[in-house]
């Protein structure tokens, strides 16, 4: 029997952001659909709407021409929509079988028989009596899939399923998915990995900033065209006026490696680059390819081998962020509200987070509030933060003003190097321009920038040199003039 799932004019607005903006899509069984987009593009919200976790503000969903009312995850289950989330929802200490029986209405024996049939049919081998914590990530995912299959779903949604899988497990998964599809299950595959889309899917829908950008047959696309659709292709011609290149080396990274214990993080492999004074190095890439880990290694939140980072002729790989600041480095992390600032604290207290010995914010262990406040006022006026009340909790600043405060806090000490990660993410055009101008200005003052960004336009506008990070590895470093967005697209997708 054919299944037809239709999303019609779905809109979901969160405070300060339109997560889904009038999205309409239609799916038919027998095909595998990719839903492609960067983090924050709105694909997760759409999937949550389909699985009943989030209720849309507007719009309707039809299954085989009937309106679906999805007010809770159990509604989705009742309507034969199965969902495998990126993070598993399994009880680690219970056995596989116990996990499966928990939300099943079937008799023990029946269930067992059903599971055996499914496992035989799709060639799954999972030991039912083993506690889940002893399983590999791939096996845990199989348990989740079995849990969906028990209910004979018409629709199966997979959310970033390969992020924790090995290559081998990934190809096994793809085989199974193709088999499900042949049997008439409609499959929606959410990812930001372009290669997988090309390998697996028949049709691809791309989302960007809450909007559906395109729907197309996979045969009409290639990795570059999809990458461009994902990150936005409207290239601006404004480029930094290149004056002089200094040959005065400021920072040099040599054979930097980072292996994480967390399976959701990306390992960094043999990072090597160097940067001269007055230059901006742009690091492009699709998010989730190791940018966050690279930022933390550079800022000192993750400590590495002493000799792997040479800054201004000092080896600083083993220093923490505060110690690195003393060498005139500054950092602006991606997450404004959870890392760069504390929303519940006043503006002036947030300013004190960037603390130098010479700033005298804390004398003999005591808070020097008047000094901090004086400094805060200076930042507010020099960096156009739109408030005059430094006792205000920073949660009441708009995103743009908060980012100005953070960049201002980092720059007012005139550091030699600013490392920033998605500095304009989620800001409005005015604030973006202001931040861009500021970054260009500090390059002109012969200071350097490492700009990690998922926004290709921004990188081409601001960088002197560009490299691409893919699966924790950097591509070779290119001069920005020689780079086109097509070339970046290829590199971001893992091509050459």
């Amino acid at each position: 029997m054919n299944t037809n799932l239709k999303i019609s004019n779905v809109t979901k607005i969160y405070p300060g952001c339109v997560a889904n903006d009038d999205v309409s899509l239609e799916f038919n069984s027998g095909k595998i659909y990719a839903l492609l987009g960067e983090n924050g593009a709105g694909k997760s919200t759409l999937v949550k709407i389909l699985s009943g976790v989030v209720i849309p503000d507007e719009g309707k969903i039809y299954l085989n021409k009937n309106i679906l009312k999805l007010n809770s995850p159990s509604d989705a289950k009742k309507n034969d929509i199965g969902m495998v989330f990126q993070h598993f929802n399994l009880f680690e200490t219970l056995s596989v079988f116990e996990n499966l029986i928990i939300d099943s209405d079937e008799q023990r024996e029946n269930l067992k028989e059903k599971i055996d049939t499914i496992m035989k049919k799709y060639n799954f081998s999972v030991d039912l009596d083993v506690p889940v914590l002893n399983l590999s990530a791939g096996q845990k995912q199989k348990v989740e899939i079995i849990r969906c299959l028990i209910r004979n779903p018409k629709v199966l949604i997979m959310d970033e399923p390969t992020s924790v899988l090995t290559e081998q497990e990934t190809s096994e998964l793809f085989l199974s998915l193709k088999k499900f599809s042949e049997e008439g299950i409609l499959i929606i595959y959410i990812t930001h990995k372009l290669k997988e889309v090309m390998q697996l899917c028949d049709e691809v829908a791309v989302m960007r900033r809450g909007k559906l950008v395109s729907v197309s047959q996979i045969n009409n696309e290639n990795i570059e065209s999809l990458a461009n659709k994902m990150v936005g292709q409207n290239l601006k011609t404004i480029k930094k006026t290149k004056e002089k290149t200094s040959s005065d080396q400021l920072i040099k990274i040599t054979n930097l490696n980072y292996t994480s214990e967390d399976p959701f993080e990306t390992n960094l492999v043999d990072i090597n680059f160097s940067l001269n004074r007055g230059e901006c190095l742009g690091i492009a890439g699709i998010s989730g390819n190791g940018q966050s880990e690279l930022f933390q290694v550079l800022s000192g939140e993750i400590i590495s081998n002493k000799n792997s980072i040479e800054f201004n002729k000092n080896f600083i790989g083993d220093l923490n962020p505060q110690e690195r600041r003393e060498y005139l480095m500054a950092f602006s992390p991606e997450d404004r509200l959870e890392q760069a600032a504390i929303p519940q604290m006043a503006i002036f207290e947030n300013v004190a987070l960037n603390n130098f010995k010479s700033s005298n914010f804390f004398n003999n262990g005591l808070i020097n509030e008047s000094k901090i406040k004086e400094h805060s006022k200076k930042i507010i006026s020099e960096f156009n933060v739109n408030t005059d009340n430094i006792d205000l909790k920073s949660q009441f600043l708009s995103g743009g003003n908060l980012q100005k405060l953070i960049i201002g806090r980092e720059l007012i000490t005139s550091p030699d190097l600013l490392i920033c990660f998605n500095p304009t993410w989620g800001l409005d055009v005015g604030a973006i321009n202001y931040i861009h101008e500021t970054l260009i200005k500090i390059n002109e003052q012969n200071k350097s920038i490492i700009l990690i960004s998922t926004d290709t336009d921004e990188l081409l506008k601001l960088s002197d040199k560009i490299t691409v990070i893919h699966r924790g590895k950097l591509s070779k470093i290119m001069n920005a003039e020689d780079v086109t967005s097509e070339k970046l697209g290829i590199l971001m997708g893992g091509g050459n």
Binding site: P321, L353, F396
Partner: protein, 354 residues
């Protein structure tokens, strides 16, 4: 029609009003419970909350009970403000009492001005040692501090039991489960003739002032505050988040240990089985009722101390079971948590639209 709406920002006035509201609701609910049990509600409440502190002796008893509650709650506020859930203050108190009691017993037949400071210090160290166990297990082995600190409470009580029955029991004590009397030099001096209130209250007041100073005026306090809000930010700022976690545990252990010292070197002057009537657990309520603020904690400790006294008075005069005191403590926490809802939501009265 009444509608519940989310507040744009938590209201500061409500923040300090809800504890008062919680106490008020507790009194009403308490009255209802007394009525159901067949007592006259107003009379019972009077015996519970007014009679016990109506005279000088009663007031001294109030301060006596409030002292350990205040001291422990101040220590706990360091932990709770930084999202570390140390609920084993009772164990830290007991272990502090064991260590300081042990030291006091060493000097049982000696006199000297130096003995009391050593005994007090020993109590603080005992609390610190005992609090360091959940702290280190949490930071280096990812254990859950709630479970570890709670279970250690029972361990410490069994150790105390063993000591007072066995090796440390008074040789001339007819096998009563208690130690020798400490020498006068090992005891916190009583402040007034005939009243039991002792110098331990100064320890509590000092803790209030020091904690206020540390939390609001020092770099250390600033780092604790930041680490409590977000470990990610603490890491980014370059603070040593793990050390901060251990430190808040140690501070809270020291305070609980000092409370233990007060209990054994005050009016009692010996170690025995029941060092504390669950002060360590009740102080959790005190800390939250006082909004984790030093001044708030002073008031909260007085309020909760009344429930201890009231329970005894009500039992003596009205034959109301003593355990009603614990019911009141539970109700205060319950109503406080419930009325905290008002911090984030407000009622809006809207006319029906037609």
């Amino acid at each position: 029609m009444i509608k519940i709406v989310k507040r744009d920002q938590p209201s500061k006035a409500i923040f300090f009003f809800t504890p008062v509201l919680a106490i008020f609701l507790t009194l009403i609910a308490g009255g209802i419970i007394f009525y159901i049990l067949g007592f006259k509600p107003f009379e019972a409440l009077k015996f519970f909350f007014i009679v016990p502190i109506a005279d000088k002796y009663g007031f001294s008893e109030l301060l006596l009970k409030a002292t350990p509650l205040c001291l422990i709650a101040i220590g706990l506020s360091f932990c709770f403000k930084s999202n570390n859930w140390n609920i084993g203050a009772e164990g830290q108190l007991t272990f502090g009492a064991i260590v300081s009691g042990g030291v006091a017993l060493l000097f049982y037949d000696q006199e000297g001005f130096y003995i009391l400071p050593i005994v007090i210090l020993a109590g603080a160290i005992g609390g610190i040692i005992y609090a360091s166990i959940p702290a280190i297990l949490k930071t280096y082995f990812n254990t859950n501090e709630i479970l570890v600190s709670l279970m250690l409470v029972y361990v410490s009580k069994l150790i105390l039991d063993y000591l007072v029955v066995g090796p440390w029991s008074n040789p001339e004590g007819f096998n009563f489960p208690e130690t020798r009397q400490f020498s006068d030099s090992a005891r916190l001096p009583l402040l007034f003739e005939g009243l039991r209130i002792h110098a331990g209250i100064f320890l509590a007041l000092a803790a209030v002032i020091i904690s206020w100073f540390v939390f609001y005026k020092t770099y250390l306090g600033f780092q604790m505050k930041v680490s409590g809000f977000s470990l990610k930010t603490a890491k980014y700022a370059g603070y040593k988040g793990k050390k901060m976690i251990i430190l808040v545990f140690l501070i809270s252990g020291a305070c609980a240990g000092l409370a233990g010292v007060g209990e054994i070197t005050g009016p009692i002057g010996q170690l025995h089985r029941e060092v504390s009537p669950d002060y360590g657990f009740t102080a959790i309520i005190v800390a939250f009722l006082g909004r984790l603020h030093p001044v708030g904690i002073i008031f909260a400790s007085l309020v909760v101390a009344i429930t201890y006294l009231g329970a005894e008075t009500a039992q003596i005069f009205m034959q109301i079971p003593k355990y009603t005191g614990q019911v009141f403590q539970g109700m205060i926490l319950f109503f406080l948590l419930a009325s905290d809802y008002l911090l984030f939501f407000k009622f809006k009265f809207i006319g029906s639209k037609k």
